[in-house]
């Protein structure tokens, strides 16, 4: 790999990182609106408000960035970056097309992506603590508790896929993929996706930022650009989670004519999952904090263990 390849990879990752989350965000505006009998943004950009998030970005950049007097200033200011960067780094390891269609193939792929994704939550925790705000503190602690509860089912189901493929490399998993893995790993897919949603604090698992109880949780004191970066992190997280679920459980680029349009399959499956994420937000009421915890430990973890047992039996018997 020469210097030009590396530069193309870097620019590609940055482009995907800046475009796809905005596409998901805009889709959320419109899809939510239509599901609720509204039309959503119609003005910005002219055509169906396509430039709404660009306009939002311009607004955020012009707003004053208030750091409360009582806050731990440096940590408070750094937190959005810590929340955002892990998702950028994860993107480089997600394969999107056959034959080396990946930013950078990493041998310990599953390990790498799960470890780096877990670090993103630190940003929220830092922000919540450094705000010196009671709502921020509560939100941060809820975030941490949610990470503790949902990281485990995620790890276990990812291990189930690694068992099925006999490798922990993401490209290796896709090379070994057969169509019947989808029904075989369907429980794992459900657990992984749900746990991912909870780690991203997306509804119905958004108790850490429940506006009706604790204002906006860890992000209560944030304004302007730093708030925008937290929002970007949330949508980048959706893209990464849907992309990973696609790669691990839905066969990634596999599909008809995958040699030429494999990347399109990846994109399509990711988009369908992202639509599901938005749909869930509109459909389900927010779970209470204890319900969230109980759901992880008494439903998802037993299901994940059962999936591992099933994977092991099928793999050894066949």
């Amino acid at each position: 790999m020469n210097a030009i390849d590396v530069i193309v990879t870097l620019l590609g990752v940055l482009l995907v990182f800046l475009v796809l989350p905005l596409v998901v965000g805009q889709t959320e505006h419109k899809v939510m609106a239509h599901m609720q009998g509204r039309v959503g943004p119609m003005y910005a950009g002219g055509f169906h408000g396509w430039a709404q998030l660009v306009a939002d970005g311009v607004k955020f950049a012009q707003k004053e960035d208030v750091v409360p007097d009582g806050a731990d200033r440096r940590i408070f200011q750094l937190a959005p970056a810590v929340a955002l960067l892990p998702y950028l780094i994860v993107l480089v390891a997600i394969p999107f097309a056959p034959g080396g269609g990946v930013g950078q193939a990493i041998d310990a792929g599953i390990f790498f992506v799960l470890a780096v994704m877990g670090a993103g939550v630190l940003g929220t925790l830092m922000g919540g603590w450094a705000s010196a705000n009671k709502f921020g503190l509560l939100g941060g602690l809820r975030t941490a508790a949610q990470l503790l509860a949902y990281e485990l089912p995620m790890l276990l189901t990812a291990a189930s896929v690694a068992m099925a493929a006999g490798t922990v490399s993401l490209t290796g998993i896709l090379d070994g993929f057969e169509w019947w893995w989808i029904p075989w790993q369907i429980v794992g897919a459900f657990v992984f996706f749900t746990a991912g949603l909870a780690e991203l604090q997306r509804p119905p698992f958004d108790a850490p930022i429940a506006d009706s109880e604790i204002i906006f949780g860890a992000y209560t004191e944030y304004s302007g650009l730093r708030f925008a970066l937290f929002m970007l992190a949330e949508y980048a997280g959706i893209v990464v989670l849907c992309g990973l679920t696609t790669v691990l459980f839905l066969g990634g680029w596999h599909g008809p004519f995958s040699d030429s349009v494999g990347w399109l399959w990846t994109l399509l499956k990711t988009a369908v999952l992202a639509f599901g994420v938005i749909w869930l937000r509109v459909t389900y009421p927010r779970l209470r904090e204890d319900q969230i915890q109980r759901f992880a430990w008494t439903v998802l973890i037993p299901l994940a263990l059962a999936q591992i047992a099933l994977t092991g039996i099928v793999k050894v018997v066949i």
Partner: protein
């Protein structure tokens, strides 16, 4: 050498990310107004003056259960190296039994914690 090459690209992406954040923070500083007032810099508490400190004492009821998480997460990490070899020639049935022993330990651990009331929140 090839092994580390992959991570050098990852490192470059991290540097790119830092640049992105640095540039946007600097640009933000140039673009936005800065008009601090004492009221604006007050900690937000629904409009009234904040009571006490923000770093309030709360009951850390997640303590035991954070331990539970650490134990299980470390356990499940061991699944990954095992997952890559368990179905290869010469393992087969034995490793499968081992897996059930392992899962049995995890399940008993959860059941024990459950019985001890660690998994109750109300």
């Amino acid at each position: 050498m090839q092994y580390f090459h992959g991570y050098s690209v990852v490192g470059l992406v991290a540097v790119l990310g830092l640049l992105f954040v640095g540039v946007s923070f600097t640009a933000g500083r140039l673009l936005r107004p800065y008009v601090p007032t004492p009221e604006k810099l007050l900690t937000y508490e629904c409009g009234v003056d904040p009571v006490g400190e923000g770093w309030a004492h709360t009951q850390v009821r997640y303590y035991v259960y954070a331990f539970l998480y650490v134990i299980f997460a470390v356990d499940s990490i061991f699944l990954f190296p095992w997952a890559t070899v368990f179905a290869t020639e010469g393992y087969g049935g034995t490793t499968l039994v081992e897996m059930f022993v392992f899962l049995g330990f995890l399940a008993v651990g959860i059941l024990y914690a459950w019985k001890k009331g660690v998994l109750e929140w109300t």
